[in-house]
């Protein structure tokens, strides 16, 4: 039997989707960082998280893409060593001063307390293009949460609130379970925070 008739197939790459996810993660992480600074409710949630807590959002499989060539196609400000060596990751942590900050995508030398791992790039795309909300994504096993599970709820809440600030109502409604009414979140707070979050995202 001639086995060369049935060649081995190496997995290919989905470049554009990877770039989208990389950019999205960068923006999202910066937005959470900004929201934690700006909004009282997010601040309160952050306070419940212990100091030195580190969160990691990752698209599996890890290390699948230590790709240098696609780094050229990413915006300059996103590229760091981590993304080149470890693929799509977003690491956020609470530092000693109690600030919740984006820490790049290099997991080396960090103790990860909570990890949210998307099972595949396609699964990450489902959530990051708002086709599935965070909760639906969780229900459809698009990502796996492991580590200090008790704090996962706070993180989800922070992500939901950030989405409300970042996105227009019509999109945000796809992402969160319950869009806050005026009585829960005054329009003044919402729009002011939206402006501040966007400003801080790009400046600080």
């Amino acid at each position: 039997m001639n086995i060369n008739k049935y060649p081995e197939i190496q997995p290919g790459k989905k470049l554009i989707k990877r770039i989208y996810v990389a950019v999205f993660m960068w923006f999202f992480a910066r937005a959470i960082q900004a929201a934690a600074k700006v909004d009282e409710e997010v601040k309160k949630e952050v306070e419940t998280i212990p100091a030195n807590f580190t969160l990691r959002l990752i698209v599996n499989p890890e290390k699948a893409f230590p790709l240098f060539f696609y780094a050229k196609m990413l915006p300059r400000f996103i590229v760091d060593k981590g993304i080149l060596l470890y693929g799509l990751q977003m690491i956020m942590g609470k530092d000693k001063k109690g600030k919740f900050r984006y820490q790049g995508s290099d997991p080396r030398g960090k103790k990860i307390n909570l990890s949210m791992a998307f099972t595949s790039l396609e699964a990450a795309m489902m959530v990051f293009t708002f086709r599935e909300s965070l909760c639906t994504g969780y229900a459809h096993s698009r990502f796996v949460v492991e580590g200090d599970l008790p704090f996962a709820q706070s993180i989800m809440r922070i992500m939901d609130l950030t989405a409300v600030f970042l996105l227009p109502k019509i999109v945000a409604k796809l992402v969160v379970k319950r869009y806050p009414k005026w009585s829960e979140m005054s329009p003044l707070r919402k729009y002011l925070n939206r402006v501040l979050v966007y400003l801080r995202m790009f400046t600080v």
Binding site: S133, C135, A139, P150, Q153, S154, K181, E184
Partner: protein, 421 residues
């Protein structure tokens, strides 16, 4: 029937059920090349004589390696390591767990270490540490409620670090679940009531929470039917073996349903109350179930309405108008709680303020409610609830559940779009 846009379902546990099910264990174990099991159980089960029942049923056909009956109320990793030592000393090749949730969880832990080698469970902490088939593992549940025999999770505490470790893998699922009414015959009436309501909650939540799928729906549907047909009867006549068998079946089927479609706010509140005030799980479930249904009513009224069919039978379903069905479900669950309360002579509590400990003092003081409400953010079942649940919402629900009054519907916050399955 609803076709979800995505679902997964896995329940690879061979279930054997019947009045003589225990007798089949030796042959089925032999089919998996296992001849010398370690029995894991706790002191309560052993002193109730249930281990002897199992031993007698398997007499002459199987040599039992050892009986390990030191499992405490909360499964502990040191106990797991200890049991593994016994397993190895006695040259066992399989595990039989006889008992409720903590025994089954401990046995799952023992199976990990005994199969994969090493002598410490902590080496296998974390998601995806177990990647191959473990030793043959048989579960004989004795409570007809937890459904742990169908779940892929083992929750084991580490008392040194004061945390609960989750071990999750499809390989933790037992190979066999044995449902035999002899195992639940001696369960006292009030425990029968609360464990069956636990199973009822699993089934109802599996039916209306966001991860529902056709197979889990169908399992939940039958579980609800069997519980509502048999529960009161069994509580009144504890010797009704056919009813006991039906409840055991219902509990396992509800377990299969909820382990695949997850649970919602009833479990969220129940876990929290259990952790902070030590309310028994089944009791908390039966108290919160009507509130859980009521809270989610505006999000999935038609789906909750469908529960009326298994709960009250087709005749009531047909004679109730569509828009009143969901309300009727809530009413009937409340009535069931009331009936159980009467049938057990007041031992089955209806509200939080009715739970007393052995000394007669209330278990959930009203002053604890704000603390409980805040702590709901530490439990994962919040995510799969159809409606968002935040501490202030939880506090409102808790206050009503404490008093025993129906929810004030106007206070429930709305504003989401339709739930997408």
């Amino acid at each position: 029937m609803l076709l979800p846009s995505f679902y997964d379902f896995c329940c690879r546990v061979k279930t054997i059920s019947g009045n003589k099910a225990l007798e089949k264990i030796p042959a089925l174990l032999a089919g998996m090349n296992a001849y010398r099991p370690l029995i894991i159980t706790d002191k309560g089960v052993a002193s109730a004589g249930l281990v002897d029942v199992v031993k007698k049923a398997m007499e002459n056909k199987l040599k039992i390696g050892a009986v390990y009956d030191d499992v405490p109320m909360d499964s502990d990793y040191k106990i797991v390591n200890d049991a593994v030592r016994v397993y190895r000393q006695k040259g066992c090749d399989s595990i039989i767990a006889i008992g409720g949730g903590s025994v089954i969880d401990t046995a799952k832990g023992v199976n990990i270490v005994a199969s994969l080698g090493g002598d410490n469970l902590l080496d296998y902490e974390g998601y995806g540490a177990v990647k191959r088939k473990l030793k043959p593992f048989v579960v004989v549940p004795t409570t007809a409620g937890t459904g742990s025999e169908m779940t892929l999770v083992a929750v084991i505490t580490d008392p040194d670090r004061k945390i609960k470790m989750n071990f999750v893998s499809y390989f933790l699922l037992p190979d066999l679940a044995v449902l035999d009414p002899r195992m639940t015959r001696t369960l006292p009436a009030f425990l029968t009531a609360s464990t069956a309501m636990d199973a009822m909650t699993h089934a109802c939540e599996a039916y209306f929470c966001i991860e529902k799928n056709p197979i889990s729906d169908s399992f939940a549907f039958r579980a609800i039917t069997m519980i509502s047909e048999n529960l009161l009867n069994v509580v009144k006549n504890p010797g009704n073996l056919n009813g006991r068998l039906a409840l055991a079946n219902a509990s396992t089927m509800a377990g299969a349903a909820f382990s695949n479609s997850m649970v919602g706010m009833v479990h969220n509140l129940g876990h929290t109350v259990g952790a902070l005030c030590h309310v028994p799980h089944g009791v908390a479930m039966s108290i919160f179930l009507p509130y859980g249904l009521e809270y989610n009513l505006h999000r999935s009224a038609d789906i909750i309405g469908e529960i009326l069919f298994p709960l009250a039978g087709p005749e009531v379903y047909a004679s109730t108008r569509k828009k009143h069905r969901a309300e009727r479900v809530i009413e009937l669950i409340r009535k069931l709680n009331q009936d159980l309360h009467d049938a057990t002579g007041g031992k089955h509590p209806r509200f939080l303020k009715e739970i007393y400990d052995r000394n007669g003092s209330p278990v959930v003081p009203q002053s604890m409610l704000p603390v409980i409400a805040q702590a709901i953010m530490l439990d994962g079942a919040r995510l799969t609830n159809p409606e968002e649940l935040l501490p202030e919402d939880a506090r409102m629900v808790l206050e009503h559940a404490w008093e025993g009054t129906p929810l004030d519907r106007k206070k429930i916050k709305k504003g989401g779009r339709k739930v997408k399955y």
